[in-house]
């Protein structure tokens, strides 16, 4: 099974679509808020999905989506078009989420040290829910394991990239991933 390409799945665009997208990006880079709004409409769902998977709750994910697009507005002039806007936004979004996780006392130690003490321990009601829904199961993982799992198995980043982004050793990232998978296998009854 091949890893997913970084970032959300993009709709196949025609040449004229590409030109149109380029034009919208250019206008947004020049300060056109209406153009930026259309970029928000196009990419916000993908950003929400990323955030929701990484932080586990709708409320936190919505806050992060706001932060991501405010940051995107501030940094948009640095987008040079070497990658697609979706890829650029995705990387920016991952960085915003990781910053938030680092700054959050709740998750900071988990992100760095990989506290996996909660793996697979949950209420019976939660277990039933998780068997039905992978996204619900993800919520049960510790912050660090969930981050590594989402970045590697869902978003397609390599261990080296993840290690660099989070500031841990690649070996630690691997170990986190394996433990996350084991926990999910238990939660999903595989």
């Amino acid at each position: 099974m091949s890893a997913r390409v970084h970032g959300p799945t993009e709709v196949v665009a025609t040449v004229s679509d590409v030109n149109s997208v380029d034009d919208v990006v250019r206008r947004a880079q020049n300060g056109d808020v209406e153009a930026f709004e259309s970029l928000y409409r196009t990419h916000s769902a993908a950003m929400f999905a990323l955030c929701r998977r990484m932080v586990g709750t709708d409320g936190e994910a919505l806050d992060l989506v706001q932060d991501i697009f405010v940051r995107a507005w501030e940094r948009l002039t640095t987008f040079r078009g070497q990658s697609s806007l979706a890829t650029w936004l995705h990387r920016l979004g991952v960085n915003v989420v990781l910053e938030q996780l680092r700054s959050s006392k709740r998750d900071a130690s988990r992100l760095i040290e990989g506290d996996d003490s909660n793996f697979g321990t949950r209420s019976p009601a939660g277990q039933i829910e998780a068997r039905i829904d992978l996204n619900a199961a993800l919520v049960q993982l510790s912050g660090g394991a969930r981050t590594v799992f989402v970045l590697h198995d869902i978003e397609g980043y390599s261990h080296d990239e993840i290690a660099q982004m989070i500031g841990i050793a690649p070996g630690t990232a691997r170990a986190q991933l394996w433990r996350a998978r084991r926990a999910l296998m238990r939660l999903l009854d595989l």
């Binding site: 997913r4 405010v70 999903l188």
Partner: protein, 223 residues
């Protein structure tokens, strides 16, 4: 795995399931899997998990996602700062008009934000009468607005000296733009008069003065 009898390591199991095993290891690992049901089952379970992950739908966006935009827009408008060109290059008429125009758009957006904040502030005012003592941050923001106001006045005086050297159509455009900025400032001052302890309104006022200074500096640089 040290020999054919040993089970696969955790790394080998995951690597085989995700297809990332080095080619030279593959024959040995596959030979082991053929003879070891325990390892083969485990690798199959990992692979099943990965398939489930791959096929899992993205979390559905909740209804408030569309409603986030106004908040994002307000944050964008409130933080907007037009960077001044360090090289102070001379701009031709069209570029100058475009730049000044974008400043005006930003100021207009600030007014929109001010109206939103003003409405919000008025709804809160009934619930709580603000104390007269201004917090330090409010005073700092007010000082900042005052400093920009003074700077704007100095630049306006300079503009008056330059006015006769500018093209008539440029003078008309500049006067129009300044009227728009001043209108925004007047609205913000009115909103602050109703809600003197609202720090967001004060910040927006300071930002509007800064926009005015910015417009005047560009005129000065370009003239």
């Amino acid at each position: 795995m040290t020999n054919a009898q040993s089970h696969l390591t955790e790394e080998e199991r995951h690597a085989h399931a995700e297809g990332s095993l080095p080619a030279e290891q593959l024959p040995v690992i596959e030979t082991h899997l053929l003879g070891c049901a325990e390892c083969a089952d485990d690798v199959a379970r990992i692979r099943t998990l990965m398939t489930r992950i791959h096929d899992a739908p993205a979390p559905a966006a909740p209804p408030p996602l569309d409603e986030l935009w106004p908040m994002i827009r307000t944050r964008i408008e409130a933080s907007k700062v037009v960077p001044l060109s360090p090289n102070a290059i001379r701009l031709d008429g069209r570029r100058r008009a475009r730049r000044i125009g974008s400043s005006i758009m930003m100021t207009a957006a600030v007014v929109i934000a001010a109206v939103v904040l003003g409405v919000r502030a008025r709804s809160h005012r009934a619930a709580s009468d603000a104390p007269n003592t201004e917090p330090t941050s409010l005073i700092a923001v007010a000082d900042s607005a005052h400093a920009f106001e003074e700077q704007a006045q100095t630049l306006l005086n300079q503009l008056e000296l330059q006015r006769s050297m500018l093209r008539p159509e440029a003078v008309v455009a500049i006067d129009h733009d300044l009227r728009v900025v001043d209108s925004a400032i007047a609205e913000l001052k009115e909103a602050i008069a109703h809600d003197p302890n609202n720090p967001a309104l004060r910040r927006l006022l300071a930002s509007s003065y800064r926009q005015k200074v910015d417009v005047l500096k560009r005129v000065g640089n370009a003239g």
